[in-house]
């Protein structure tokens, strides 16, 4: 009985912790599946968090805040899309600068709201019907934020869209072999733009979850590496939305369990565990697939110019 309770509580906490990671990692999976690396996730999440909080605080409506968060993330990704896709500049540098710019801008813009609690934050809700399931109910469907449930749905939707629709096939083909897609008369750049923008939208929602639901406030260190962990999660899940879901829960569970060790370890060492665990997860991914680099889109990180071989 006690063990059951512990497992249930751990999974529920893990899910709450994993929610921003899930949103951002799903976005990164979509962008990278089209062949565009976006290292700006951290910056887009920060922009989403600050925009969401500012709008929710001013209008008093968290849903306007959420829309603003999504749009802010998307605006950030649009910058990356122009630089990396249209101008064909180095995607690594462009993404990095988006992270630096996003962190700097969000800190600059958010100064007015530091330390103020959100009067009317996002409420936790139960899912009707599913909440009454034995064990699964309290684990997954009780007392979470709407965005958490939506993240579960989003992962499934992303999987269906990517793997079971024509558009998803085009998107993945652009990431594997843009030349073939171009020769077939399909739009390479427009597809990549769409993927990167959707990625930014999802990262923005992830940031919005932080400032509107998880910790309804704004502070400079709010994202604190979650964007980078989300990129790692996309790699760990080998760019597959359903595996992102499982891997996200695993990440969340490990972080949650680590915090249960609070009595044994000093707090500073506990806070570094998620980052250490991320490194271990990447090492495990690389080690388990050995020399065969499967999963990564073939044309990942290569700008496309017609005529280039």
């Amino acid at each position: 009985m006690d063990l059951d309770l512990l497992v249930v509580a751990t999974v529920a906490r893990a899910l709450a912790f994993a929610t921003p990671l899930l949103w951002a990692a799903l976005g990164e999976v979509i962008a990278e599946r089209s062949g565009v690396v976006n290292l700006g996730v951290e910056g887009m999440m920060a922009l989403g968090a600050v925009a969401g909080f500012a709008v929710a605080f001013t209008t008093g409506n968290v849903w306007w805040g959420l829309a603003a968060a999504a749009l802010a993330g998307m605006a950030g990704s649009a910058l990356h899309a122009v630089v990396a896709i249209t101008l064909r500049a180095d995607a690594y540098v462009s993404g990095l600068s988006l992270t630096m710019l996003g962190l700097g801008l969000s800190a600059l813009v958010g100064r007015a709201w530091v330390g103020r609690p959100l009067p009317d934050p996002m409420r936790t809700v139960d899912v009707p019907w599913l909440r009454d399931l034995p064990l699964l109910g309290p684990m997954l469907f009780q007392g979470q934020h709407l965005l958490t449930y939506a993240a579960l749905v989003a992962a499934v939707v992303a999987w269906v869209l990517l793997f079971h629709t024509r558009g998803g096939l085009v998107l993945r083909s652009v990431g594997e072999n843009p030349v073939a897609v171009d020769v077939a008369g399909l739009p390479v750049r427009r597809t990549r733009y769409a993927a990167v923008l959707i990625g930014g939208l999802l990262a923005g929602i992830g940031g919005g979850y932080l400032s509107l639901a998880y910790r309804p406030s704004w502070g400079e260190g709010m994202v604190n590496g979650l964007g980078w962990i989300a990129i790692a999660l996309a790699i760990f899940a080998m760019w597959h939305p359903l595996r992102v879901l499982l891997a996200g829960l695993l990440f969340g569970a490990c972080f949650t369990l680590a915090f249960r060790l609070q009595t044994v370890f000093p707090p500073e060492l506990l806070t570094l565990l998620p980052y250490a665990f991320t490194v271990l997860a990447l090492v495990f991914t690389a080690w388990s697939r050995g020399r065969r680099a499967f999963g990564a889109p073939e044309a990942l990180g290569r700008p496309y110019l017609r005529g280039e071989r």
């Binding site: 500049a89 540098v93 008369g185 590496g225």
Partner: protein
């Protein structure tokens, strides 16, 4: 109109009859011009921030220039902020040329600071040996911290961008743990820091300024040595080939893993020494990591990219970012502007430099015949100076 392929007769080809033709080499004047333009755009944005915060722009700029460049004390602040940027920047230049994307200089700086602090507080060495031992320990600690992601990359192909970044966070929390736990000073209340360094572990400075000149000398010597190595030695040749084409390097019998490892360790060791300079020259104790480094590890990425593969160009690039950081202090203290402006400026210039990079390397031509292959833009930022660029990549397809 064009005969590039089955799809070339489509909408996009008809819409514009001119197209962008990339070239293998960027003329130096264009690089300088485009870089200056990027800086000018950033300056315009900052001016707009001045106006929006109700600060008179002419007054603001003249205050900044006076307090960072014209007054001796201000100039010393600009220079002392350029010191860690020089050290880290020259290291990253090397790492980037071997395509090792080290984003972890911030953590390597902290590792170096921890190494130096251990020597300063606990080694009990004879006085004249303390400073050299601190630099050695700092370089080794930094190199070790950077070697782990490099090994993981070389052996298992683990993405170094994320591992080096995660190592930044780990280093940050380790330093916090040290100054709150085992190394916490007895007198520390409220803020956490270590005991003060003994006199023999403190670097000399110019007069009453905070410019710790031994670190500056080390940084300049390192830049000179690396410039020489890159231009004249077998090692420089290997780095050059590896940066241009990993396949060519393999044919030339160059052990890519070994070169990457050496470069990554060198870069991380230089960042470690930057950490030694900060603790031994400025703070004289181990302090809160966000005070210890003001984001030098991230800003130095811009230093290395601005230098575009040329070792000596790291000097003006580091001075420019030193000025940005010093100007940030002036904005905060004298003009009462938010302290986050330098971060925004750094990010903006980085973005503009990345975005304008293709502009330095091509021209518009009338769209006739087949399109030549594009130059991977990444090469321009990471490879060496164009004087020795391989022309083979250029020609028509």
């Amino acid at each position: 109109m064009t005969g590039a392929g089955p799809a070339a007769g489509g909408r996009s080809a008809r819409r514009r009859s001119r197209r962008w033709e990339p070239r293998a080499e960027a003329p130096a004047w264009r690089v300088v011009l485009v870089t200056l333009a990027a800086v000018a755009v950033a300056a315009l944005v900052v001016t707009w921030v001045f106006v929006s915060y109700g600060v008179e722009p002419v007054h603001a700029w003249s205050t900044i220039v006076r307090r960072t460049l014209l007054e001796p004390r201000g100039l010393s602040e600009t220079l002392r902020k350029a010191v860690p940027l020089l050290l880290i920047g020259i290291g990253l230049l090397l790492a980037f040329r071997a395509r090792f994307w080290n984003i972890g200089a911030e953590g390597q700086l902290l590792a170096g600071a921890v190494g130096a602090t251990a020597v300063a507080l606990f080694a009990g060495l004879p006085a004249p040996l303390v400073i050299p031992a601190m630099f050695l320990a700092g370089a080794l600690a930094g190199a070790a911290w950077g070697a782990v992601p490099a090994l993981l990359k070389a052996r298992l192909g683990v993405n170094e961008i994320i591992t080096t970044l995660m190592f930044n966070y780990i280093a940050l929390y380790v330093v916090r743990y040290l100054i709150n736990g085992p190394w916490k000073a007895r007198t520390a209340t409220g803020f956490s820091y270590s005991e003060r360094f003994p006199v023999e572990a403190v670097l000399p400075t110019f007069g009453t300024t905070r410019l710790h000149w031994p670190t500056l000398v080390i940084a300049l010597v390192l830049v000179g040595v690396i410039a020489l190595l890159l231009a004249r030695s077998r090692f420089g040749f290997e780095v050059e080939v590896l940066g241009r084409s990993p396949e060519a390097a393999r044919y030339a019998g160059i052990d890519a893993g070994r070169v990457t490892l050496v470069l990554a360790a060198l870069a991380a060791g230089a960042a470690g020494m930057a950490g030694v300079g900060e603790v031994a020259g400025i703070h004289r104790r181990l302090v809160e990591p966000t005070q210890l480094s003001l984001g030098y590890g991230y800003a130095a990425i811009l230093v290395a990219l601005l230098a575009r593969g040329r070792a000596l160009a790291v000097v003006p690039a580091a001075l420019f970012l030193g000025f940005v950081f010093a100007a940030g202090d002036v904005m905060r203290v004298s003009l009462r502007l938010p302290s986050q402006l330098p971060d925004v400026v750094t990010g903006l210039v980085l973005l503009l430099v990345a975005a304008s990079e293709p502009l330095t390397r091509g021209r518009w031509v009338r769209s006739e015949g087949t399109e030549p292959p594009a130059m991977p833009v990444a090469d321009a930022l990471t490879a060496g100076p164009p004087a020795r660029a391989a022309g083979a990549e250029g020609g028509g397809g």
